[in-house]
């Protein structure tokens, strides 16, 4: 839970109850499972899906 408290503090989440902190902990665990699935082998040429353009469309 102390990592969760540190995360809450870092994110400015100063008004969380113990119940809220437990939720934040569970949400973090869920998100970590998704993060662990991110590919680790992108090359520099792998562009993001949305690329800013200065003129015309922003996409």
């Amino acid at each position: 839970m102390s990592a969760t408290r540190d995360l809450a503090k870092a994110r400015g989440l100063d008004k969380l109850t113990e119940e809220h902190l437990a939720q934040l902990e569970r949400a973090t665990a869920t998100m970590t499972r998704h993060i662990d699935r991110l590919p680790k082998d992108f090359s520099g040429s792998h562009e993001a899906a949305h690329v800013y353009q200065a003129k015309g469309s922003d996409r």
């Binding site: 949400a27 973090t28 998704h34 991110l38 949305h50």
Partner: protein, 463 residues
């Protein structure tokens, strides 16, 4: 039960045009249906019978004067309560916005109004389209008309429940990770998440900018096409809006599937996730039926379902946290527990996580479109199970991840969900996925299947 309660848009619209059905009498019949059954199903946040009757009277007068506007003239509908209507609250089913008041119509609401539609009210949703079903909010959650002890799906829960209960023939929902298609599956109705950018998102409270879709929910495929016809189109003030022409969505709808190429993404519901046996059988039977009708069917392989889930959920978490960050800091207690926990996920992410997911999204999109290269549409699961009990938190949590919907929010392709049978009295469904802007093909396949099976003619008893 009123015989008018389960008219389709096509049926009612034709009768209204021929002046055989009065928009006022039709609206009054639906108001009576709502007043009788709404306490059981909680489809509405704000029921607006006064507005409805006024608009119905205006529609009747216009049609009598020869000023018929089209198939939606005089048709009652509901709007998910994240869609702005000038002068009405947009609560997002949340205490956070309980005192809000919209100053202008969202374009989707304006288009339905301009088409002569009759607004019955604002509909229940999961809180901010992300957290539900929730019993700790100012309004109760919607319930499933097929069995009110069961979940109606979400987040467009009131839209799905109201359609199934015969409250209206048309509703607007939104879909960020499946929220039109989930209630379509659970409530046995038709829901279309069209191509990203097909329908304006302006004036609709966002959950995730690059994943949000606004779309039609109806009881039949033809109705869905008629409704998309009204709401589709470019909005230059929506940065995600597509400047792509709008075809006639009903032009090919009765052509049948002979000669069409259908891909089946079977691994989504048999290997990546093991679907409920009744749901898997329904999908296999549907594919066999379409093959018998003359479609060429092949099994296709996409990246693993869980890859799309991870990619989509990271993007959704980051974008939604950006929207809710201030309120989560200032008033976390004003959220329901489910929405708060789901929104907290974004706090765990770094900017690099988000960017990596967005790079991954491009790869997944390319791989998906490559798999779609030689087909017209694909068929796969929407939900893997029929609706669980609304109070079964364990099943609700487990089933949240058991779906074939998120891939097509990640890629932006259209996904149409329609009924595909029943399991122990609860609806089963299938999902038809098209090429980008390929809604016409989705409707053509959906209509062929619907005409052959007639699932959409069954309605709940509403006891």
């Amino acid at each position: 039960m009123s015989e008018l309660a389960f008219l389709t848009i096509a049926e009612a619209g034709a009768q209204i045009r021929a002046k055989k059905l009065s928009p006022v009498e039709y609206t009054k019949a639906l108001i009576a249906q709502i007043e009788r059954h709404e306490p059981s199903f909680n489809a509405f946040i704000k029921f607006t019978p006064d507005i409805a009757l006024k608009e119905a009277q205006a529609a009747e007068a216009q049609i009598a004067a020869g000023r018929w506007r089209g198939p939606f003239h005089g048709i009652p509908y509901g709007l998910k309560d994240i869609v702005d209507v000038a002068g009405l609250p947009t609560t997002a089913h949340s205490k956070v916005l309980i005192d809000s008041l919209a100053r202008a119509d969202a374009p989707v609401a304006a288009k339905l109004r301009d088409a002569g539609g009759v607004l019955l009210g604002k509909l229940s949703t999961h809180e901010f389209a992300v957290g539900g079903p929730s019993f700790d909010l100012p309004w109760p959650p919607a319930r499933n008309p097929w069995n009110r002890d069961h979940f109606p799906g979400g987040s467009s829960s009131g839209s799905g429940a109201g359609l199934a209960a015969g409250f209206f023939p048309a509703a607007i929902g939104t879909d960020t990770g499946g929220s039109i298609r989930n209630p379509a599956s659970m409530c046995g109705i038709a829901g279309m998440k069209a191509t990203y950018g097909r329908v304006s998102r302006r004036g609709v409270f966002p959950l995730s900018f690059s994943l949000d879709h606004v779309g039609p929910m109806t009881r039949t495929v033809r109705d869905n096409a008629l409704m998309l016809q009204v709401i589709a189109g470019h909005d230059p003030e929506d940065p995600g809006s597509a400047a792509v022409g709008v075809p006639d969505y009903t032009a090919d709808i009765d052509r049948g599937v002979k000669g069409m190429r259908i891909g089946v993404i079977r691994h989504f519901y048999t290997k990546d996730v093991e679907g409920d046996p009744d749901q898997v059988k329904a999908l296999d039977d549907a594919v066999a039926l379409l093959a018998k009708q003359g479609a060429t069917v092949t099994e296709i392989t996409l990246p693993p379902l869980l890859d799309y889930t991870a990619c989509g959920q990271i993007i959704l978490a980051a974008e939604s946290y950006a929207i809710h960050e201030r309120w989560l800091r200032e008033r976390p207690q004003d959220y329901g527990a489910r929405a708060r926990e789901r929104l907290f996920g974004g706090a765990a992410l770094s900017a690099v996580h988000y960017l990596q997911a967005v790079r991954w999204r491009q790869v997944l999109k390319q791989q998906t479109l490559a798999a779609f290269r030689d087909i017209d549409v694909a068929i796969t699961a929407s939900s893997m199970d029929p609706a669980c009990r609304i109070d079964d938190n364990e099943k609700l949590a487990a089933n949240y991840w058991r779906s074939g919907r998120m891939p097509f929010n990640v890629t932006g392709q259209p996904g149409l969900v329609i009924p595909a049978g029943f399991s122990k009295g609860l609806p089963l469904s299938l999902q038809i996925v098209g090429q980008p802007f390929g809604e016409v093909a989705c409707y053509r396949v959906g209509q062929a299947y619907e005409a052959a099976t007639e699932w959409t003619k069954k309605h709940p008893a509403l006891n």
